[in-house]
């Protein structure tokens, strides 16, 4: 009987420990690769940004345009469509690209369509409320030379517990005047995901 109580007591303790689900948080390097579910994650976003920035800055379109225009081209971000099977925030790698290009001094960016609406509303507000010497004028915006557009596509192949996901990100810089494509960049990412069919 005594042995029986001991076994029950130890089993209960083990059960309690097994059921404890305290949250544990630790800081990790933002460049470290951690894949949990196989879905699109920060590493994929970073890889796309790095590849696109390198490709964009090292292609001849830039020097050709500088020669033609005589100054750094101005770019506006257009629509980058998510045509994949996951809800992906494409803004993460677009912002990385934008920041890298601005910081390199090679390209200037102007506000995109949604931001411009907000900025114009502010200008309208200033027109009636701000002092004359601080008020900003309408019609002084810089027109962009190029628009950055693109899409993110994915293909999924699966059989039972195995899955292969292929992502392709295509970005294009298009001349707003001539509609000529001056640069096309792409990045492909392929993932193999294997799920275990049983666990304890």
């Amino acid at each position: 009987m005594k042995k029986m109580i001991q076994i029950l007591f130890i089993s209960s303790l083990l059960f309690l420990f097994a059921c404890s689900s305290g949250t544990k948080v630790s800081r990790i390097d933002s460049n470290s690769v951690v894949d949990l579910s196989g879905r699109w994650n920060d590493t994929d976003s970073r890889l796309v940004a790095e590849e696109m920035i390198q490709d964009c800055l090292n292609r001849p379109w830039y020097s050709n345009l500088i020669q033609e225009k005589g100054s750094a081209p101005t770019v506006v971000i257009g629509k980058v469509r998510n045509k994949s099977h996951e809800h992906i925030n494409v803004e993460t790698f677009i912002k990385d690209m934008e920041r890298a290009l601005i910081n390199s001094g090679s390209v200037e960016f102007v506000a995109n369509s949604a931001m411009r609406d907000e900025l114009r509303a502010e200008l309208a507000s200033q027109a009636g409320n701000a002092t004359e010497d601080t008020r900003k004028d309408f019609g002084q915006e810089i027109g962009a030379d190029l628009m950055l557009m693109g899409s993110l596509n994915s293909i999924v192949d699966q059989e039972g517990k195995e899955q292969v996901i292929f992502y392709q990100i295509d970005l294009e810089l298009i001349d707003l005047q001539s509609h000529k494509k001056v640069w096309i960049g792409d990045k492909k990412i392929k993932k193999y995901i294997s799920k275990s069919s049983t666990k304890l």
Binding site: M1, H87, Q158, K199
Partner: protein, 466 residues
């Protein structure tokens, strides 16, 4: 003494395994009747552990996703449905411990994995959530996720994979809104194929849009393979092609059936046959069925008497059966057509699973009967009264352990209708009447001053579950 302690422990274990499905329905139907969708949402959020628990997390999020969808709370609905989908995906990996526990007790001890029609309807509601928000890219992501999910279900069990016409039709609609007419045509074809495979008549408006799209993309011959003939005249679809502006009216009518218990009893001979008798819930008459019995270790050639409960469709009373509407008070009332019938889906799902559930449950009962007999023998003493008490207690415990898995989504409608109404840009009025089977109006909705811009697709939802 030791054995009696085990019996007491088992009793406590049984209490913890109590079936929550009936409690969930009783509690939430009261809250819904009293305070509508808000009441049900509040009750679910307040009493989640009691009503759902860890093993029914999928249903917790599914029910909340659906209730928020009815309330036009698109973002909350999306969050809950996404969470439900994630839970479903994570349950791909089966827990050996849970499976073993289910083998000894019942299926309620396993995490709920969703019935195929529930999973596919999750994508339907997600597509509608995104389209209602005007996020076509988001809707198309759900369309692609649905395709992957359908493929996985098809690979898992081809025979039990039921095509979902509404899901394909919504996919076609999303592609069309996006201007992807080739993809839309293929999705329309899949919708036609789903109706064909399900032996369901294609609603006339749906067939007009299918015909129009397939003819336009030179794919009309695909319909011949399904023994359909594309319509010569498609005036509504032609008009919509020109205006590209429409009101899309979706109604959720009545309440889907839920699950009740069906008691079966009969004889089980390991590796040979299982004969069961039961009262047919459809006819009310006694019926019997024979199945091949799986081999149960230790059962030998002994004939076992078995009794167990199975999930069976339980119809709920509701009045809403049709929706008629008029636009701008000009047109004759038009009746919306049914694209999805959850009563039909549940009936088919139960029929698909019946044979495997019966044999699995009967085998489980036999395993427990053998274990109970061994337990009685081991607990036997010189006192005949104590032996009798132990024997009765063991039998009662055994019968109490077996509970049918009655889990399913609680707030699905009985039917879904969808009507596309081409309109010109400007201001419109929409009157919707919900009728019962006697054609009496039980609910009305008047939408005045609907501002429609050129090229807009305006979605309106009318849920009447009562």
């Amino acid at each position: 003494m030791k054995k009696r302690l085990i019996l007491i422990a088992l009793s406590f274990f049984l209490i913890s395994c109590a079936n929550k499905s009936n409690l969930r329905y009783d509690t939430l139907s009261k809250s819904y009747k009293k305070n509508g969708f808000d009441g049900a949402i509040a009750k679910i959020e307040k009493e989640e552990p009691k009503l759902y628990g860890k093993n029914s997390s999928f249903l917790y999020h599914f029910d909340l996703g659906l209730l928020h969808h009815y309330k036009n709370n698109w973002k909350q609905s999306i969050q809950h449905f996404s969470q439900a989908e994630k839970i479903y995906e994570d349950l791909f990996t089966k827990s050996v411990t849970n499976e073993a526990a289910a083998l000894l007790t019942n299926d309620n001890t396993k995490p709920y994995r969703a019935r195929p029609f529930e999973l596919l309807s999750l994508y339907q509601f997600q597509i509608l959530n995104y389209l209602a928000m005007g996020d076509v890219d988001g809707a198309l992501v759900e369309v692609r996720r649905a395709q992957i999910s359908m493929q996985a279900l098809y690979q898992k069990d081809q025979k039990k994979m039921n095509e979902n016409a509404l899901l394909h039709y919504l996919s076609a609609l999303a592609y069309e809104i996006d201007g992807e007419h080739d993809d839309a045509a293929l999705a329309y074809y899949h919708a036609a194929r789903a109706f064909h495979e399900n032996k369901t008549k294609i609603p006339s408006e749906v067939f007009e849009f299918i015909s129009h799209s397939l003819k336009k993309s030179d794919r009309a011959e695909l319909l011949h393979k399904l023994d359909y003939q594309a319509l010569e005249s498609t005036p509504k679809a032609d008009h919509l092609e020109k205006t590209n502006t429409e009101i899309i009216l979706i109604t959720y009518l009545g309440h889907s059936p839920i699950l009740g218990e069906l008691y079966m009893s009969g004889t089980f001979v390991s590796g040979a046959g299982l004969n069961v008798n039961y009262k047919d819930p459809q006819t009310g008459k006694r019926a019997s069925a024979t199945f091949i019995a799986p081999v149960v270790a230790g059962a030998g050639g002994t004939s076992f008497h078995v009794g167990f409960s199975l999930p069976e469709k339980r119809m709920l009373p509701f009045q809403a059966s049709k929706a008629i509407f008029t636009l701008d008070k000009k047109t004759e009332p038009i009746q919306s057509e049914v694209l999805m019938d959850f009563n039909h889906e549940l009936t088919r799902n139960l029929a698909d699973d019946r044979s495997s559930v019966i044999t699995k449950t009967a085998a489980r009962v036999v395993i427990r009967t053998i274990a109970a007999q061994k337990a009685k023998k081991a607990a036997s003493t010189d006192n005949i009264w104590l032996n009798l008490l132990t024997s009765v207690g063991t039998d009662v415990l055994q019968s109490q352990i077996e509970q049918a898995d009655l889990r399913m989504a609680l707030f699905l409608p009985n039917t879904i209708t969808l009507t596309r109404i081409p309109v010109e840009e400007g201001t419109h009025q929409l009157s919707v009447n919900i009728l019962n089977n006697n054609n009496s109006v039980i609910s009305s909705l008047q939408l005045n001053d609907i501002q429609i811009k050129k090229g807009q697709k305006a979605f309106f939802f009318v849920p009447v579950l009562r």
